[in-house]
């Protein structure tokens, strides 16, 4: 399938994929997935078949990622990325929608839920803390290393922080690095510090929709205590920990994530559940 595009309110062309195998004669809820920093919505491919038979699934390429270009100096911020999500929903004609994100994408998804309580039906927050600066690593040092060695070499050096090398299939790591490595260093030099600056722990209680927070239990980047910020502050939050897994659960165990997310969505959707 080819990427589709819509024009955001600041003029930037945003790319997205839409997958929909729902029954054509009945309405279906819309789900928007927001990928992590580096790579693109392609990183969610394995989730689609789990979800798209019941939901209309849109995957956005964040600014500077995938087929969405890196915008001008004033056009990259977390509120702007969250607005892109809402404008995609507008473009798709979805007054209300579910949103889920992975890592940096979950920050964007959470921001969309904070700013648009009337529109976001539920939030899926995978590997989400209330701001990445509380983590165990200085992400700004990542940018330095990426600048020195290139993104692929950086990812290869730090891959054990991201995936459990004992359990992923052979071939996964090379694919993951190739896919994530497509993001330009110029984009990450702006994107990572911006994410690091963005702090939203205090806003978490404003998330009024049902939330599923899924945390990696063996993450060298954030402790489970950091991840616990969500269930502690969001009024209606289910918290699931994947024991022993490092940061990138949405890539390394996509089927498990998508199955848990599907179960959560079915519980919280207006879509007919008798199917």
């Amino acid at each position: 399938m080819n990427a589709q595009r819509f024009k955001a309110s600041d003029g930037l062309e945003i790319a997205y994929f839409l997958d929909d195998y729902t029954d054509p004669w009945r309405p279906a809820d819309t789900v928007i997935l927001v990928h992590a920093a580096m790579g693109s919505s392609i990183r969610f491919y394995a989730w689609v078949p789990h979800l798209a038979g019941v939901f209309r699934v849109a995957r956005i390429d964040m600014r500077g990622h995938g087929a969405t270009p890196l915008p001008g100096p004033d056009q990259l911020s977390v509120p702007r990325l969250a607005r892109d999500v809402v404008e995609l929903a507008d473009h798709l004609g979805a007054q209300r929608f579910h949103v889920a994100g992975s890592s940096a994408g979950s920050t964007v998804a959470a921001k969309a839920a904070i700013d648009n309580p009337g529109r976001v039906q539920s939030l899926g927050a995978f590997a989400c803390t209330g701001g990445i600066r509380h983590g165990l690593q200085d992400q700004n040092s990542w940018v330095r290393k990426i600048g020195e060695k290139g993104l692929a070499a950086f990812l290869r050096d730090t891959i054990a922080d991201r995936v459990d090398l004992k359990s992923v299939e052979p071939g996964f790591v090379d694919w993951f690095i190739a896919e994530s490595g497509k993001t330009s260093v110029a984009a990450l030099e702006r994107f990572v510090p911006m994410m690091r600056e963005f702090e939203f722990v205090a806003d978490l209680p404003r998330i009024r929709c049902p939330t599923l927070a899924v945390a990696p239990g063996g993450d060298p980047i954030h402790t489970v205590e950091h991840y616990r910020a969500l269930p502690e502050r969001i009024p209606d939050c289910e918290f699931v920990v994947y024991d022993g897994l490092p940061h990138n659960i949405t890539d390394a165990v996509p089927d498990r994530c998508a199955r848990d997310y599907r179960r959560f969505l079915l519980k919280n959707s207006t879509t007919d559940k008798h199917r």
Binding site: D20, Y21, D23, P24, W25, R26, P49, E169, W175, D255
Partner: protein
């Protein structure tokens, strides 16, 4: 809601433009296997949308629109024959660079699939036959009655009048309406050529040439084909497997699509990795 698969197009060796959909959410590393899935007479590849979420995580699924159906052009007077339809399958595989592929079809689409497997044993990895005799000659379909009924009343009225016979097991009015609308998109003159052509076909004598693994999924209560008529493969393709859907009439691939796709997936996974 629109179905989302993007249609692609290729040109057959006789110049006709053939449309097909590709849905693929399989892991991009490691060897990839492709399933070509052929819809029944009337309508198009869209009739198989519900199969995609079940199959496409494991296989690349390619759904052609048969000649005269869906977005594939209507063939000229000399451009419609069973041989030509099987050639389209092989040319589609060539176009996609597939040396070997899995093949499945529903009803008339299965007549094409089986003939393709008979004539191209080196190309077809596995064969799945849903609800078909080896050509319509050995079936109970009164093709003249169908063609005359469609010509006299138009597709929509003909289908509306016979819908209860097709789907006594389906209560969902939305589905029935959609099925009629989707099938009624078929060109009446095309069907008046396509149906009688299939009614001339009987390749029972060639079935013994099917050497690849074969699955037969058969409706157990079909006025169009008796159990004895559908059991012909037991004799000629002794290694083939049978699954009977007790009590169900002909259109199993539309009325219980998920059950069909799950049985197909089990069969395919058993034979995966032999390409």
């Amino acid at each position: 809601m629109p179905l989302s698969s993007t249609m692609q197009e290729m040109t057959a060796s006789d110049g006709l433009k053939l449309a097909y959909a590709i849905d693929d959410f399989s892991d991009p590393w490691g060897p990839q296997e492709t399933l070509i899935l052929i819809h029944a007479a009337m309508g198009s590849s869209r009739r198989l949308y519900k199969w995609i979420p079940i199959l496409s995580r494991h296989f690349r699924v390619v759904r052609p629109d048969m000649r005269g159906h869906g977005r594939t052009q209507i063939p000229g007077p000399d451009q419609l024959s069973l041989t030509r339809l099987t050639k389209d399958v092989i040319e589609l595989a060539d176009h996609l660079g597939l040396k070997r592929f899995h093949l499945a079809g529903s009803s008339a689409g299965s007549i094409v699939a089986m003939r393709t497997a008979i004539d191209n044993p080196e190309r077809v990895l596995t064969l799945a036959n849903f609800a078909s005799t080896p050509g319509l000659k050995p079936s109970n379909i009164d093709m003249n009655k169908w063609v005359n009924g469609i010509k006299a009343k138009g597709f929509k009225s003909f289908l509306e009048e016979t819908i209860e016979e097709r789907f006594p097991n389906v209560q969902d009015k939305g589905f029935l309406k959609w099925f009629v609308e989707e099938s009624a998109k078929t060109d009446v003159d095309l069907f008046a050529r396509f149906g009688p052509m299939m009614k001339e076909v009987d390749y029972t004598a060639d079935l013994h040439r099917i050497k690849c693994p074969m699955l037969n999924v058969m409706p157990g209560h079909d006025p169009l084909g008796s159990k004895a008529q559908y059991e012909v493969y037991r004799q000629h393709v002794p290694h083939s497997e049978y699954i009977w859907y007790d009590g169900l009439p002909h259109n199993i691939t539309d009325s219980v699509p998920e059950r069909c796709a799950e049985d197909l997936l089990k069969f395919l996974l058993k034979h995966k990795g032999r390409a």
